[in-house]
């Protein structure tokens, strides 16, 4: 018998996870710019200050480095801080505390101290976000030993990994959320008896297929699913999709096993290819056994420029569904395959996002 399918928006999953953390653990606080205002961090902290008290959910001065250091000190003294950066770009101001302090506290002092905290950062895209509101900086953080770096791509990924972070993990977690996921609705089985079991800080196999392995991050997982649907239906090409989810601790075996099966690998990341997720996953395959591959690895990411504001250039800056689809068709059928693929512009979601923020 089919049970009723539960559908939940990404931002509501965020709100639920924040609310749960405050409800279940009295030492939890949320400190971030505008977390207690009427917009509630794009709906992810709305009314939590009213419900849990202004001493636990509060606005902060605009001092990213200081605030992060304060979060670390609070964590060292028994509080679980959840911090927010309404754009990933602003976290660069906090880099010293994240990299020099949070990531090293446990190791540098011989394992005697823990810094349990969650730092949420939001990537912007479209409606003219421009060069300083659009960056995806996951590789900068994942480069550093000591940090768990996540990019939850669905409502359940948020619920599983945030609840795990707050309840069980004793170190700093960086989670990079995508602004355009916030209004997406997802099927949810979180908390149900027959819910799929994932390691909350590892990768997820979200679709099975024999022809191509797609390793994707964040919103590129959604794009990969659309592309895979199209390819299966129109061209009988079957993609296997791995949602990397954890940038720092992804499941290498899962990727290797999949590539062993398909022989084709395309990596779709939200950031630049150089020195990032695309480069790292390629390294893993090269170091394991590149003979698994039938042809070259293909990567999909942003163009190697700052993000332009004007829509005309922004459309060129991000890869579109058509490019994504064509690259896979070429990989499987070879160049000069002669197959036609429907040409769509950027997908409807991006078009439907209306600013300003």
């Amino acid at each position: 018998m089919e049970h009723n399918e539960k559908v939940i928006k990404y931002k509501d999953a965020l709100l639920t996870s924040m609310d749960d953390a405050l409800t279940r653990f009295p030492g939890t606080i949320i400190m971030g710019q505008g977390v207690d205002d009427h917009k509630g961090t794009f709906g992810s902290t709305t009314d939590l200050a009213k419900k849990h008290g202004a001493h636990r959910v509060f606005d902060i001065p605009l001092s990213e480095e200081g605030n992060t250091g304060i979060g670390i000190g609070a964590a060292l003294n028994g509080v679980y801080p959840i911090q927010t950066h309404i754009r990933n770009d602003f976290s660069l101001l906090a880099m010293s505390q994240i990299v020099n302090t949070a990531a090293k506290y446990k190791y540098m002092y011989g394992g005697h101290f823990n810094v349990p905290m969650l730092i949420r950062m939001i990537i912007g895209r479209s409606w003219g976000q421009g060069a300083q509101h659009s960056q995806s900086l996951q590789s900068l953080f994942a480069h550093i030993p000591g940090l768990v770096v996540l990019m939850p791509s669905s409502a359940d990924a948020v619920l599983e990994s945030y609840n795990h972070a707050v309840e069980h993990y004793k170190g700093p977690v960086i989670s990079i959320e995508h602004r355009l996921l916030y209004d997406y609705s997802f099927k949810s089985t979180y908390g149900e008896k027959d819910a799929a079991k994932h390691d909350p800080f590892s990768s997820r196999l979200v679709r099975k297929g024999d022809d191509v392995t797609i390793v994707a991050t964040s919103i590129m997982v959604i794009e990969a699913q659309r592309v895979a649907d199209y390819l299966a239906k129109e061209l009988d090409i079957h993609c296997e999709i791995i949602d990397l989810h954890s940038i720092s601790h992804f499941n290498k075996e899962m990727i290797v096993e999949s590539v062993k099966k398909t022989g084709n690998l395309i990596i779709a990341d939200t950031s630049w290819q150089a020195y990032g997720v695309c480069a790292e996953i390629s390294r893993i395959i090269c170091e394991h056994d590149p003979r698994m591959l039938k042809g070259p690895v293909v990567t999909l990411g942003m163009q190697p420029s700052p993000c332009p504001t004007t829509k005309k250039l922004e459309d060129l800056f991000y890869p579109d569904d058509y490019t994504f689809t064509m690259k896979i068709v070429e990989m499987v059928k070879g160049r000069g395959h002669g197959l036609s693929v429907a040409k769509t512009s950027l997908n409807e979601t991006y078009k439907s996002f209306k600013g300003p923020f």
């Binding site: 636990r56 001065p61 609070a74 190791y107 002092y109 394992g111």
Partner: protein, 307 residues
């Protein structure tokens, strides 16, 4: 001579003799870690920490030996740490610049200038939220007061009324750069702009005076949950890092060193020095022996305690 004075003298002298021992051992390369000695500045650690409870939290810069000891950190574990031994307070992974001891809430010392100031403010935030009745202390040099995060921390502590004491050890030097070249403000005056109370102590050699001033401040900070800035003039006898003297180079004068030594009780009060030296040296020798005889970390330690 009252007991309190002797206690503070003993604390200060102990720190000095420990660091002189480090300087003695250093040429042997048994200590392979950059050491930033507090010789000349011991009275601050002694006078401040004498007023703190074990539950109070202290964060410092890399010039941390004095506060580690004054807060009650274990001497054996300190020497073992300097020797890179697994019995060290940081299992040999910390070295001189990152001493910490959770047992006595000496919470950490960082090589990145000013970076622990905000951590101390965070500890104070937690103690306020969790009603812990603790005082947190951030210790930093005058150079650190130029960093943005010092100002961010001061503003936050004032806005949120947090029980934290900012201690500026003003030795007038950032490595070799003089304060006059770097500061457009006076630390204790500037704090008032944030509505933070402050005090200036000129006699940084006088542990009894520092102790007396701090007694009132710690009480006020604890009872009223407010931040406080304490600027203390002091003098660094040694070079910025290492064990050498550097009064032969022209960035500072030998005269001011001589003047400071004239006021230094650890030099002037020969009788008390004589009274305590043997006892302290016995303790130090035992700690050095402990370090010498301790094992180095096992290979597995390289990848332990990262996550």
């Amino acid at each position: 001579m009252d007991a309190l004075y002797e206690k503070l003298f003993y604390q200060s002298l102990r720190i000095r003799l420990v660091e002189e021992k480090i300087a003695e051992i250093y040429p042997s390369d048994k200590i392979q870690s950059p050491v930033h000695l507090s010789i000349g500045q011991e009275a601050l650690a002694a006078g401040i920490c004498n007023n703190l409870l074990v539950t109070d939290m202290v964060y410092t810069s890399y010039r941390c030996h004095a506060y580690y000891l004054a807060k009650g950190g274990d001497l054996n574990e300190m020497f073992a740490e300097l020797y890179g031994k697994v019995t060290g307070c940081g299992k040999g992974k910390a070295g001189s610049m990152h001493l910490a001891s959770k047992k006595v809430n000496f919470m950490g010392s960082s090589a990145v200038v000013a970076s622990t100031i905000s951590n101390a403010v965070g500890s104070a935030l937690a103690s306020k939220i969790l009603n812990k009745n603790q005082v947190s202390v951030a210790v930093f040099g005058d150079g650190a007061s130029e960093e943005g995060s010092y100002h961010e921390s001061l503003n936050f502590a004032a806005a949120f009324k947090l029980p934290v004491i900012f201690v500026c050890e003003n030795n007038g030097l950032a490595i070799h750069s003089k304060l006059e070249q770097r500061h457009a403000f006076v630390v204790h005056e500037h704090a008032k702009g944030y509505g933070v109370k402050s005090v200036y102590i000129e006699e940084g050699y006088d542990f009894a005076k520092i102790n007396q001033v701090m007694e009132g401040i710690v009480k006020e900070v604890r009872e009223q949950s407010i931040p406080y800035v304490v600027e203390i003039k002091t003098y660094r006898y040694k070079e910025h890092v290492g064990i050498g003297d550097d009064h032969n180079v022209p960035y500072r004068s030998k005269d001011e060193f001589e003047q400071w030594k004239q006021k230094d009780p650890l030099i002037q009060d020969a009788a008390l020095v004589a009274k305590f030296t043997d006892e302290i040296n016995k303790e130090i020798e035992a700690a050095v022996k402990f370090a010498e005889e301790s094992p180095v970390p096992a290979d597995e330690e390289l990848l332990a305690d990262i996550y």
